[in-house]
């Protein structure tokens, strides 16, 4: 390591302040700090600091995503080969998925980090680590056959309009990964919806149906998968959102490390369950309902992108509510609205993307009211103090 350190110091020489390439220092620093936690010491305030930093936090989220990603790679192949019929091994399935998904990840990181580096140099600040997570999330929530150039465009839109336009990491209102998906969804609907895209090569091979469970339910058909299949994730869908089991594994890591807010995750699942229960109760109130409303409430929790969205995107601290109480409300409404959109919007069977984006927009409003109650409490205290003084006089 010592040898690498010396090499790095040598490489960094022309980037030092006052030297020729000073402007490009953030780019080299980003690579340096990826290898070594810098030797910076505290200058003001507290002399000692917590071991955690943003890099560590973001890498923890990436780690939490890995189980779902690996399962997603395998499932892409599994869905493809199962529908084709015939024998295939685990590695056949995994390789099939990996060959499609790894290039998506490479494109996403290359394009997104390219923009991040450019902005860091342009604005003269260090490269923020947020994109490490966003860049992995984006391919994970796209259909497996999504063309790479469209993916690149979605990334450009998400980073430029979703994030940098608002001032960069920490300032964005919408979750960047979902912004990318929403862009792709509205710009290229034929690649992002319908019954042709959710299984690898469904659009080119006739024997493969690319329909999701939500799609069939919306079309008024019964789902042909068992609840256990849905929970384990042996179902069609976006790259890595199918397996509730592996998503929960990631959720466990996020909650144990306190990187993800358990309040948001729990309240969002509760919200979804409540909405599902309301719909399930319709027949008892004399309303017939349809396949979607009668789909059991617990089924709503394990199909589609709900679990993935709640665990990995609703918990994005920048776009979520920031107060404790706000997080409960924010999470609950995400779950509640997601299931509502699923049921009421026939054009778009999955509601979690729009549910989260909508609540992203309202999160500052929720926080505003939570904080207002704190401010009111303080003002009331002043009032009561004043009256006390008056009576004392």
């Amino acid at each position: 390591m010592e040898w690498i350190r010396q090499k790095l110091d040598k490489i960094k020489e022309p980037f030092a302040p006052g030297k020729k390439y000073e402007k490009y220092a953030p780019a080299v620093n980003a690579i340096d700090t990826f290898l070594f936690t810098p030797n910076h010491t505290t200058q003001k305030g507290a002399h000692i600091r917590d071991a955690v930093d943003l890099k560590r936090t973001m890498i923890t989220v990436v780690l939490a995503l890995i189980p779902a990603l690996i399962f997603g790679m395998w499932n892409a192949g599994h869905q493809h080969f199962t529908q084709l019929g015939g024998d295939f091994t685990f590695w056949d399935a995994f390789a099939h998925g990996a060959l499609k998904i790894v290039p998506m990840i490479v494109v996403s990181y290359a394009v997104g980090l390219g923009i991040e580096f450019a902005f860091a140099i342009f604005r003269g600040h260090e490269v923020n680590e947020g994109y490490l997570v966003t860049g992995l999330l984006i391919p994970m929530i796209m259909p497996v056959d999504f063309p790479l150039w469209m993916l690149a465009l979605s990334v450009v839109f998400a980073v430029l309009v979703g994030k940098e336009a608002f001032g960069g990491t920490g300032m964005n209102i919408l979750n960047p990964a979902l912004t990318a998906r929403a862009f792709a969804f509205f710009a290229y609907p034929t690649y992002m919806s319908g019954n042709q895209v959710w299984v690898s090569e469904a659009s080119t091979v006739d024997a493969i149906s690319g329909e999701t469970i939500l799609g069939s339910l919306a079309a008024g058909e019964n789902a042909s998968y068992s609840m256990m299949d849905m929970f384990y994730g042996f179902i069609p869908g976006s790259v890595a959102e199918t397996s509730t089991l592996f998503i929960l594994l990631g959720a466990l890591l996020l909650i144990l490390t306190k990187v993800g807010s358990w309040r948001i995750i729990l309240s969002a699942f509760i919200g979804a369950a409540v909405m599902g229960l309301i719909f399930n109760a319709l027949p008892s109130m004399g309303v017939a309902g349809n396949e979607l409303t009668n789909f059991p409430w617990y089924g709503h929790l394990i199909i589609g992108g709900l679990a993935f969205g709640i665990v990995f995107m609703a918990t994005d601290p920048v776009s979520a509510a920031q107060t404790m109480k706000g997080k409960w409300i924010y999470g609950f409404l995400i779950g509640f609205l997601s299931v509502m959109i699923r049921v009421f919007n026939p054009a778009y069977p999955e509601g979690v993307m729009l549910g989260i984006l909508l609540m992203n927009v309202f999160a500052p409003t929720i926080d505003h009211y939570v904080i207002q109650s704190n401010i009111k409490r303080r003002k009331k205290r002043i009032e009561s103090a004043k009256t006390q003084v008056k009576t004392a006089v």
Partner: protein, 447 residues
Amino acid sequence: MSKGIRIKRGLSLRLEGEAEKELVKAPRSKTYAIKPPDFHALVPKMVLKEGAKVLAGDELFFSKYTDELRFTSPVSGVLKQIKRGEKRKIMEVIIEADPEDTYKDFGKMDAASSDAEAVKQRILESGCGAFINQRPYDIVADPKDTPKAIFISAVSTAPLAPDWGFILKDRLAAFQEGINALKKLTPGKVHLGVDASSAQYLKDIEGVELHNVKGPHPAGNVGVQIHEIDPINQGDRVWTVKPEDVSIIGNVFLTGNYIADRTVAVTGSEAANRKYFSTKIGAEVSALIQKVDEDVRIISGNVLTGLKIAYNQHISFFSNEVTLIPEGNKYRAFGWLPFTYNNIHSNSKTSLSWLFPNRKFKPTTNLNGEERALVVTGEMEEVLPMDIYPMQLIKACMAGDIEKMENLGIYEVAPEDFALVEYVNTSKIEIQDVIRLGLDLMITEVG
């Protein structure tokens, strides 16, 4: 009468290098210094010139805008040097000490039976006004104000903090007299916070409202106790005094002399002789610690709020503690990997340090990362046991939005209350500095 305060949120850091409970008389240091920057926002005006002879208790300088506020010499000797910084700002007033102190005689006075104005005058002329701090803003108190109440916290929860019970155990008479004097300054109460588990003798002090405080740091911070007991509203003034300073005030009344005794605990993993030293205010740090090189940071105060000083410099006015910890100017390969380097404490669970609750940590001054935008939420609330939204207040301070700062409770906080928030912050923002700048803005805009 005693009341209980129970603080739930917070973080008590367990660090290596606690001071042994043994009081040693420190060798007399050659020079002593009063440093005007220790009193935030003070503009000093010198009374004496270099070369003047002083007694302990002789006035050195006063506050330009509040001339009753005097600062006196802790020892007798010769005013050796007035050290100035940029724009001729006075940084240090250095006194070369006599081998033995001779005191200026203010005359004895019984605080309890004396007139309030006379008590105030005695406190001011002896230079004890310097010990009285004002909230809001965390600055030296203006003698023209009448505070709503006076708060004293004898609870030490900060990492490696000295034990007030141990420091005060032989000075209870002076402490009691100091309380009697302070009682004259306010129409309200004098509140004394004591550790719920501490020795009885502090609980026998009369004339105070006693509060038994329990809980992790920052429960010992006077600001947190004020917030629990009687929160500061807009327009309020409350005063705070540190426990040892109360006994110095008391001594002025008991003996007629300004005896600036300062007990300093030498702590930290790098300190060789970890004991309590009895010395005078503003002593040279070299009189208490072994010679150290640049790999060791000398902190006048504790690791969260102290001031970095050099080996040849003087201890700060209010410091009851000198902490020595290793400098952390080393690179760490892949330091960002979660669950690695578990020897570094983390309040987040991305390090396995929480698996060893009884382990004492040996922290360095490494920043453990770089400054980033504020991203992570919820971590600050865990260590700030006040009904305040820390992140929102910090952002209001950064933006300089006065109305918002006021609404979110800027009057109730001091930088030290945000020390732990700064410690746990993932984005490594200098939060105490942000709060200080916010308070400074309030001073100029609201006053």
